[in-house]
Subunit: 298 residues, 2 copies
Amino acid sequence: MRAELDCYPCFMRQALDAARMAAADERLQHRILQRVAALIAAFHEDAGPIEMGREIHAIVRELTGNADPYRAAKAASNQQALALYPALRRYVHDAADPLRAAAALAAAGNVIDYGPNPRFDLPLAIKEALAADFGGDDLPLFRDLLASNRQLLYIADNAGEIVFDRLLLEQLRERGIAVTFVVRGGPVLNDATVDDARAVGITKLAEVISSEDRSPGLLLQHAGAVVRERFDRASLILAKGQGNYESLSEERAPLFFLLKAKCPVIARRLGVAVGATVLRAAAGFPPLEQRTPSAGAR
Amino acid sequence: MRAELDCYPCFMRQALDAARMAAADERLQHRILQRVAALIAAFHEDAGPIEMGREIHAIVRELTGNADPYRAAKAASNQQALALYPALRRYVHDAADPLRAAAALAAAGNVIDYGPNPRFDLPLAIKEALAADFGGDDLPLFRDLLASNRQLLYIADNAGEIVFDRLLLEQLRERGIAVTFVVRGGPVLNDATVDDARAVGITKLAEVISSEDRSPGLLLQHAGAVVRERFDRASLILAKGQGNYESLSEERAPLFFLLKAKCPVIARRLGVAVGATVLRAAAGFPPLEQRTPSAGAR
């Protein structure tokens, strides 16, 4: 998606958050903000927020010399989520509709995002996601497609959140679906990398591949050939989180978004309230008659 | 005061609000944000938020050709406040401590500010200001100084708010104090001008003079000679609102600030919660032994 003008103040705020996370002193924070402002001054009006995020975090890394400002925050998120995992797994196991419970929890986990709101409340997000009418969205369509697919490309978002993704991965495995789990090509914001996937046990459940790019969303034009090819061939794709929605919302692909809408711009685009958890087929989802045979052929 | 780094995202947000208020189309809004971003990229780290506000609103006027984007909003604020005025005047009249009631209401009126938060709630602000322990601040010192002064320089902030100022002006007049009321030199944000002072009846109660500058705060280095001279000679000054606090907080002068702290940066500097109403002597207030004789001599 194109960045909306409401994103511009947020770019500055995210740059400041990232500069502070990288422990830059005041003067360096000021230089980072000036560099980001210069970037905004030259930013093409059709460019997207993830392109800007990619540049912002590259500037922060370059000026601070800190290659992974969110390293400690990511490790803490993984640990916090892993501590909750046994209870959440039992919750899913005992649920009347385990797939729905796992999807709702995976969406709730998307609150662990240092981009839109670094002061998130994970227990509250879990409570809300389980209380919300999650199935009212595109879960029935997703469920149907799971029945006719043996493979799924799962595009991950954040550290910590991927523990919640694991609950859903387990449900997919129970249904005989092989998952390829796509993580970022290196540390950017608090997004999950191969190291995070390994730390929370996902490498044992799924094939994990890297985007080979450090954008806080999957930008296909910057991603490696392996991911691009998997994306083009996939019969079913699940993209987690706001960042992947921002970078992939206009793709024509058999693609679902599973996320928590954390800012007014994204909530407005999805037609939901800020804070809502959403499972939504992409607008460019191929029509069913085109989709089913092609899915079968893959 | 110097702009804090937390002000930078807010500069972009205020520029976007102002562009929309000026009815710029999307493309023009984008151009305005790019110009403001270029300004931020070159902004000196010691410059203040009001210097930036001055530039932002000049850019919006220049690019949209709209000389007074907040004209309708200001007229509506004046009318809204005038409709409340008779009841508020009775409230002050009947109060056990009319000066305190009028000061609390004048601070509450500072919520009518399209800078920090254009979605303000005036009735709530009035309710909160009257409930809060307003006298716990520097009201006793202000009251003492009113007893030994015959003149006061009152630096106004916003349209609508000045109706609330009128309540305090009336209290000052009852105490035999002649007020000179300083307004902006021309439309900028929703700040009060001579036209606004006339529209709400203040020209009949006080001498009204213009800053001869279009900053959303009183920047003495840009103000006209008349205001600068009055400021230097004044034995007692009351500066209303966040904008005047931002531009005058470091002045060494017999100066009080009366405002509602509407953003985290200002609230932190004042050591209060966001939303608090404050009457506070300037940090650079001359010590009492220097002040009293000089005040008497003026």
